[in-house]
């Protein structure tokens, strides 16, 4: 028996099986949460607009991402912007997942979740923080939103704020469209925006 054979046998004799690793991973996530070192917890949920990545800091929900954004890319951006201490740890996002499920099944009209706004600065944050005032099933124009944010002339900046909303669906930028009826830019693509608007008018 040569050393390579023995190395192969050693790998078999000391297994690192997926079931064991999943159990240990979950135990790590719980311990990290307990010790306050889980800077970002995430999970994915299925939805009528495709799989959504949900990420939360200890302060609250910090990111909702569409598959088209590339979930790995989004996680890397969170590592760069917030902290690399990131784990797939669904427990912190249980309430978010539940409220989203209620929303997508027409049983919820507004979200009641702590939000971490740190990925939006300045005027963008002001714009986004006003969006929940556009009621479920309604739409507003970019000009109306600029007005709501206190800068009636900043229509283009308001549109950019909506198009770069880090918390889509929960912060309802999908309810903002052009005054001539064009649907406008959306992080999840125009189809996702139409789906959400149709869902809200049907319910």
């Amino acid at each position: 028996m040569n050393a390579d054979d023995l190395a192969r046998d050693l790998v078999r004799a000391f297994p690192g099986t997926p079931g064991d690793l999943r159990r240990l991973h979950d135990r790590l996530a719980a311990a990290a949460e307990r010790d306050g070192i889980l800077d970002v917890a995430y999970r994915t949920v299925d939805s009528p607009v495709g799989p959504l990545l949900l990420a939360a800091t200890e302060a609250g929900l910090v990111r909702v991402a569409y598959a088209s954004e590339g979930h790995d890319t989004v996680l890397q951006a969170l590592a760069d912007r917030i902290s690399p201490r990131i784990l797939d740890a669904p427990a912190r996002l249980d309430a978010t997942a539940r409220e989203l499920d209620e929303y997508f099944t027409g049983r919820r009209r507004s979200f009641d979740l702590p939000l971490d706004w740190r990925l939006s600065d300045g005027f963008r944050r002001v714009v986004l923080s006003r969006l929940p005032e556009i009621g479920y099933g309604h739409t507003a124009s970019y000009a109306a939103v600029a007005n709501l944010a206190g800068h009636p002339k900043a229509v283009r900046a308001a549109a950019t704020a909506c198009a770069t909303n880090p918390l889509p669906v929960v912060v309802p930028c999908h309810r903002v469209i052009y005054s001539d009826g064009r649907i406008g830019r959306y992080l999840g693509g125009p189809d996702a925006k139409r789906t959400l608007l149709a869902l809200e008018t049907a319910a």
Partner: protein, 169 residues
Amino acid sequence: MTGKQPFEAVVTRHGATVLRVCRAILGPADADDAWSETFLSAMKAYPGLPADANVEAWLVTIAHRKAIDVTRAAARRAIPVAETPDTEAADAADGPASGLDSDLADAVAGLPAKQKQAVAYHYLAGLPYADVADIVGGSADAVRRAAADGIATLRRTYPFAAATKGEPR
């Protein structure tokens, strides 16, 4: 600028190797605790780890220290005759390892600490002798000798190997 990977990716990429190493050094009963403490410590320190660090060597270094802690704690708890029944109970609890695999695990468990570490860190974790030497102390040559001695002992005490591998190459 792209910096450090999310820690989740570190667990995904290196979790199995660290578990194998913990199992080889400590046996199945204590390996879970060592793995958990290794990754919890690593996650705490992760933001300060240099971007160009060898993550696997870093994790094995932490696992090595945790294994020493676990071994010392076990030694303080131990009653002299407990060794053999404990090992058997742990093996049984770990599930359906084949006779051959558990023979090799037993053979590794019987190695002196330095040889066991050299074999586990070089052959299971795949670290070069120089990296293993940084972790366990001493020179790369000393580690190479310890690994060779360990392999020689395993060849003698792991009787089924020759039969399953056929003629030596």
